[in-house]
């Protein structure tokens, strides 16, 4: 069964009717799908449709086989981890409280929340002994992003949505976190939909890459197939990553 399924899903506003048009895409369990496209291509809208922050104006979005219209938004969101570019850590809570937030909303027992938060901090490489009590303002950008990932994973969600999670980091930290991310994903086998405008990031992380342009999915395939694509919209994005060898298009 597909974990997330877009069935001719479209979304728009009265003054901007085609933010996303006719998206059909199925995401299998344990898969990492990376959606690439320039700003305004509709990437974030896809994520917001998946956790019912938005409802499609036509077509359907199904999560675990059920139409998002039938899901209770609150229940759905607690089953879906979400990592934002600006992280959005709660500044008035400690790192441990941030990580334990969804379990707390789910009314876990206090000691279970604590155990879980510490396990996750270990997982993302922040030893709880020196990080659990800190405030977000006392962390570096990379550390904050790690906390963001730990927080998204806290209630063991089957699905993880990531909106340009490594976009604001310096290149070295970004590479480090991308590797960590792959390790964690292989360990937990979480289904991940990740959005980025960085084509090389897509090639580093994805099992499948989806290329979006002006609200339409141009291609969604394994990286090798995307690299061979003749579509000019894909080619333009590929040109942004000069060090990736291109084959099959004669250049």
């Amino acid at each position: 069964m597909n974990v997330v399924e877009f069935d001719a899903a479209a979304f728009g506003y009265a003054n901007r009717p085609e933010v996303l048009s006719g998206l059909t895409l199925s995401i299998e369990p344990g898969e990492v799908v990376v959606l690439v496209g320039r700003s305004g291509a509709g990437k974030s809208t896809i994520l917001r449709l998946a956790n019912r922050l938005l409802l499609p104006t036509s077509g359907a979005v199904r999560v675990e086989g059920r139409d998002t219209r039938e899901w209770d938004g609150i229940r759905l969101r607690r089953r879906i981890g979400y990592v934002l570019q600006d992280v959005g850590l709660f500044p008035h809570m400690s790192v441990e409280e941030n990580v334990g937030l969804v379990p707390r909303l789910e009314r876990w027992a206090a000691d279970r929340i604590r155990t879980r938060a510490h396990a996750l901090l270990d997982l993302v490489g922040l030893p709880p002994a020196s990080f659990a009590w800190r405030r977000p303002s006392e962390l570096s950008g990379g550390q904050r992003q790690r906390v963001g990932v730990a927080r998204a994973l806290a209630a063991d969600p089957p699905i993880l949505l990531m909106d340009e999670p490594f976009g604001a980091l310096d290149p070295v930290t970004r590479l480090e976190l991308q590797r960590e991310f792959l390790r964690i994903q292989r360990e937990l086998k979480t289904t991940v939909v990740l959005v980025t405008h960085d084509m090389s990031e897509a090639f580093t992380l994805a099992r499948r890459i989806g290329v979006l342009d002006a609200g339409r999915l141009v291609i969604c395939d394994v990286p090798a197939a995307v690299a061979r694509s003749q579509d000019p919209r894909v080619a333009l994005l590929l040109e942004t990553m000069p060090r990736v060898p291109r084959d099959g298009n004669g250049s």
Partner: protein, 507 residues
């Protein structure tokens, strides 16, 4: 300065009580405003369609001058009336705006990413509010409380004008006696109180903003300090309870002395008396006695007939008193026999001018009016037996429109040359002290102003001994007596209560 410390020493108990009243007024009003304003601010943030009008209303309330708001609320049922109720309503209205505004502002300025994260993590709107939005907006809200409290401490001084007590009593008493020591005795503690409140809340705000700190501690310390202040203030402000007779007075020296005279005479009969002296002008006292906020006060026949009942006054003193008695009887108020003196308006000029220009009567003013600036109290300017009639009967044309000023400042303004002619009380001690000359009312424009005690008839029937006590005073207070007592308070800086006590002992 030493006079000030001496004043505080001798009035120690009263100072503590007034300070307590002041704090209670501010705390209750700010507390109610917070209880209403914070939810209103949340509503305004969540539902702008409801919220915008709310914010607008709070804005409007803020723009009404405080004295006007007090006066406006005074005649309303339930929330109005002389005393702390009206003051609390007014202070609460003033505290609302800063609280609502900072609540809305604090919520609006939250980091979008943080709020989005809360929603995306599956928080319900309520969880989002209590776990994220309110904790993060709390420093702003505390900043609003801080502004509201400081405004409240200041505005509460004006509340004394309508009998709500507080440190403003010293300020108004000092104004009416033209005594800066008494004014400072109230103004300095009020300023200190404002600074303390500001400092304490600034500390709390700072602690909340520095996000290293845990949220629990500063809030707990603040709450504990607040509780302590409330308990102390409450116990200090509690005046005598179970009292049965309330004596009021207007806001000038003579009235305060007369109020003391009545109060002490009634206390001599073994009754408990509550003093609401220095209430305000004629209109406030009239409303207070009609609504039952006070049981008795001293009025003047001429004032009663013209200013209260809007009739022409008979120029005969006996007829004026008879008319006064009839008019009040309909309102359930008994006018007791006149106390003996006639406190008519006196048109006053500087003694030097009177001697140089040979001014004797108001008629003589016509020759100089073209170069002169008059200054009158607010009430005199409005009343039919005041300024409009005066210039008509005497055909006076002054150089400028009259300067309106507080009764308590007017004698000094004349002596210092800011104005050239004023209307004052014939019994004022300042006439002699500042070398002023009263011009003769040759055309008998001013009606008789015999002092009479007005008392609510039900109170008189319940306690006939009050009638007996006041009957012993009637006809016994001459104009000379009254000027003497005014002089003792205004110039010798004696306490009105002591002056009244001595007078009663001498009779």
């Amino acid at each position: 300065m030493s006079g000030l410390i001496e004043f505080w020493r001798t009035h120690h108990a009263e100072l503590v009580r007034l300070l307590g009243q002041h704090i209670v007024l501010v705390l209750i009003s700010t507390g109610v405003a917070a209880a209403v304003g914070i939810p209103a601010g949340i509503l305004a943030f969540r539902r702008p369609r409801i919220g915008q009008p709310l914010l607008f209303l709070a804005n409007v309330a803020q723009t009404i001058p405080s004295l006007a708001l007090f006066g406006f609320l005074l005649p309303l049922p339930f929330i109005g009336g002389v005393g702390s109720r009206t003051a609390l309503v007014t202070l609460t209205l003033y505290a609302l705006l800063p609280i609502v505004r900072t609540t809305v502002g604090g919520l609006r300025s939250l980091d979008r990413a943080v709020v989005d994260a809360g929603v995306a993590m599956g928080m319900t709107p309520r969880q989002l509010l209590f776990m994220v939005e309110l904790p993060l907006a709390l420093p702003s809200i505390v900043a609003g409380l801080r502004v509201a409290t400081v405004i409240g401490v200041g505005t509460a001084t004006i509340a004394a004008a309508i009998g709500a007590g507080g440190l403003g009593e010293y300020i108004f008493r000092g104004l009416s006696m033209v005594d800066s020591t008494t004014i400072l005795a109230g103004a300095i503690p009020a300023a200190a109180l404002a600074l303390c409140a500001d400092g304490g809340l600034a500390w709390l705000e700072h602690r909340l903003r520095s996000q290293r700190a845990s949220f629990g501690r500063p809030v707990l310390v603040g709450a504990a300090a607040l509780t302590a202040v409330i308990v102390l203030a409450w116990s200090a402000s509690a005046g005598p309870s179970g009292a049965s007779v309330v004596v009021g007075s207007k806001n000038f020296t003579e009235q305060v002395v007369l109020g003391e005279l009545l109060a002490q005479a009634i206390e001599a009969e073994g009754l408990q008396v509550v003093r609401k002296l220095n209430l305000g002008g004629t209109f406030i006292c009239d409303r207070a006695v009609r609504s039952g906020d006070i049981d008795l006060y001293v009025e003047y026949t001429g004032t009663a007939v013209t200013a209260v009942f809007h009739e022409d006054v008979p120029h005969d003193a006996g007829q004026a008193f008879e008319r006064t008695r009839q008019l009040y009887a309909r309102a359930g108020i008994t006018a007791l026999d006149p106390l003996g003196f006639n406190n008519t308006f006196a048109v006053l000029v500087r003694g030097r001018d009177a001697r140089q220009l040979g001014l004797r009567s108001i008629d003589d003013l016509r020759a100089v009016a073209g170069q002169w600036t008059p200054g009158f109290g607010y009430e005199f300017l409005q009343r039919a037996d005041g300024y409009p009639g005066l210039i008509k009967i005497y055909e006076l044309g002054f150089r400028t429109a009259p300067r309106a000023m507080d009764l308590s400042l007017i004698y000094k303004a004349l002596a210092e040359g800011q104005v050239d002619v004023i209307a004052g009380d014939a019994t004022s001690a300042l006439i002699d002290a500042l070398d002023l000359t009263a011009l003769e009312d040759s055309r008998r424009y001013f009606p008789p102003y015999d002092a009479v005690t007005l008392i609510r008839t039900p109170a008189l029937l319940r306690h006939p001994e009050i009638g007996r006590a006041i009957a012993r005073l009637s006809g016994r207070i001459s104009e000379r007596d009254m000027r003497g007592m005014n002089r003792a308070v205004d110039l010798d800086r004696r306490d009105p209560a002591d002056v009244a006590k001595e007078f009663l002992a001498s009779k």
